[in-house]
């Protein structure tokens, strides 16, 4: 069936709520309001207020509450209206959820999912446009997932909810309406498995989240306008990271372009570049290149924000330069 990315996430929530009575969906406006981005629309009516819980605007309070509840076997799926709000519950996510298993010597685990959109590009200014996948993934103890398609969003979220470790699930408001093919029956996408979204032979574009969609558009243009065959590797999961798929692609194409909507400094791309040069130095025919958000806080100006984020043209230019 052809469904939107939003509907795919909703289906994952509904199926897991149905399957496991310990799953609870909690967050600001998730119940009566039907979700700030309508992801949870209809769930209150179907599952009732015990399972679909509206919270006050207290991210540290309800994220921490979810972590505490998860220690006793509840499986909270906490919605952050924007992942940007992680900054007001940073201590709960990255001190408590990330560290409590370790500090207890493995006596405790926290099966919690924290999900919501983490993207720029919607003209809401710097405070609401954070992309914290790199910052979060730099904390051992959590897992970080960034789906690009409806299929991946559904399969990954179901895996995340069944995972016994804290999973930080980062969506994208711009993708919520995008439609994709999803099987009728149940399926799971495991964390840590990348997906080759488009095979190619001349260069490897590694991306995740919405950058994958732009990379695919660029790959199409590269083929049509420059006769360049680009392979697009969608990481899907940042931590765990599917290094093997990335390296296999690099060994095939010998050229690498990294694309991310986050800022360049200490980002996911920096980790990838280190890993690729370390494991596949002799396979590289050119320096690794990277396209990321222009390194400044997210600009409001709608015309300029489009320029700040990687778009197909910027990806295309970088690819052409890489093959020159």
């Amino acid at each position: 069936m052809l469904i939107s990315y939003r509907e795919a996430i909703r289906q994952a929530l509904a199926e897991e709520l149905q399957r496991d009575p310990n799953v609870v969906v909690m967050g600001e406006e998730v119940a009566q309001f039907h979700g700030a981005y309508k992801v949870t629309e209809g769930l209150l009516e179907k599952f009732g207020p015990k399972r679909i819980v509206d919270t006050p605007i207290s991210e540290a309070g309800f994220v921490g509450l979810g972590i505490g509840a998860s220690m006793l076997g509840i499986r909270p799926v906490i919605e952050l209206m924007f992942w940007s709000f992680y900054s007001v519950c940073f201590d709960q996510i990255l001190n408590n959820a990330a560290n409590i298993r370790y500090m207890s010597g493995g006596l405790i685990h926290c099966p919690i999912v924290i999900r919501g959109p983490a993207n720029g590009g919607t003209n809401v200014g710097a405070t609401h446009s954070h992309t914290p996948e790199g910052i979060c993934a730099s904390h051992p103890g959590v897992k970080v997932v960034c789906p690009a398609t409806a299929y991946d969003a559904k399969g990954l979220l179901k895996s995340a909810i069944r995972d016994n470790d804290p999973v930080l699930f980062m969506e994208n408001t711009i993708l919520y309406g995008d439609k994709g093919e999803v099987p009728d029956g149940e399926y799971l996408v495991p964390l840590g498995l990348a997906d080759i979204k488009r095979p190619g032979t001349d260069l490897t574009i590694v991306a995740y989240g919405r950058a994958v969609i732009n990379a695919l558009a660029a790959a199409q243009l590269l083929e049509q306008e420059h006769d360049i065959s680009a392979e697009v590797v969608d990481l899907r999961s940042i931590r765990p990271l599917d290094e093997a798929t990335v390296l296999a692609s690099v060994r095939k194409t010998h050229r690498v372009l990294l694309v991310e909507e986050s800022k360049p400094f200490c980002g996911v791309g920096a980790q990838l570049a280190y890993m690729i040069q370390d494991r596949a130095f002799d396979d590289l025919d050119a320096p690794i290149k990277r396209v990321s958000s222009i390194d400044a806080p997210a600009i409001y100006s709608p015309a300029l924000e489009l320029e700040q984020l990687p778009d197909p043209q910027r990806i295309l230019r970088a690819a052409v330069e890489l093959l020159r």
Binding site: V24, I67, G68, A69, Q92, R101, I108, P190
Partner: protein, 358 residues
Amino acid sequence: MAENKDHEGVKAAGYNLAPVNARLSAGEKIALYRTMVSIRRFEERSLRAYQAKKIGGFLHLYTGQEAVAVGCCSLMGRDDHVITAYRDHGHAIAVGMDPKALMAELYGKATGCSKGKGGSMHFFDPSRHFWGGHGIVGGQVPLGAGIAYALKYQGVAGACLAFMGDGAVNQGAVHETYNLAALWQLPVVFVIENNGYSMGTSQARSSSGELSKRAEGYGMDWGICQGHDIYEVRATLDRFLTLAREGSKPSIVEIDTYRYRGHSVADPDNTYRSKAEIEEYRRTKDPIQVFAAALAAEGVLDEARAAQIDAEIRAETDRAADFAEASPFPTVADITKDVYWEEDNPDQKKSQGRIFFD
């Protein structure tokens, strides 16, 4: 809201006559006393180990506050839970954790309760419903409400004792949690262990108004009691725990206590309070002396028995230190264990890819 007529009656008659205390057998009273002495001797022994550089980092001692943890945790029923901050040794001993595993944890040994990965501030024992041991001021309070949330969700008639110090009451996460607990009527008792100082800043210099009375702003019950008399602690907490267990009603209880040592033992202790103040508490309100005197008056404990208990506990504490000393350190390979449940349970692993990086 705080006081009710029944409680006034208990107060007038003496806290030892409160039902929760009156029904204690002589053996149970001795056990409480013994646990308080265990905490005192454990802390003294760990201080010596710290001074001998066997223990690293911070060491927040509980001496002076023993009646609080022992009084509160002795009320825990089968379905009750407890969580606290970094001054956690007293609570760990009060719930029955083995001093050997605690001392070994302080020494950073593999036999420690957290395998040497948590340290002084991070003791845990889920099997005893003890959920830590948390280092960030106030950071554990939302987790405490989450435990209560889980109990209510699962239909278990238990409660969570969520301890914090007087320094935690001004943290935003604490206030967010107060609101959630009251809004959702969670079975949690927020216990403020008020030892008078948030590190080196007195309550007068850090907090406006009465600490537990802030509950009124959230429509919660609240109370306040002295923390040097274990009977008073038990009589007071019993009321609020009952409210939580039977009516799923949250509350805030301030327990006034005092610590003999600095915030952490390495911190200077003469810049914000006087020796005379410490000695005054020791002379008039030392919780172990106060309880020993009460038990002597009841004919439950005499000097010979007290001396015998003390000798037994000193020996037990020395054995704990010997155990810690003799235990091995964790290995480099242990550093990346106990990070992810899935990595520790490879037979049930579903994820793929690399999870630890170089």
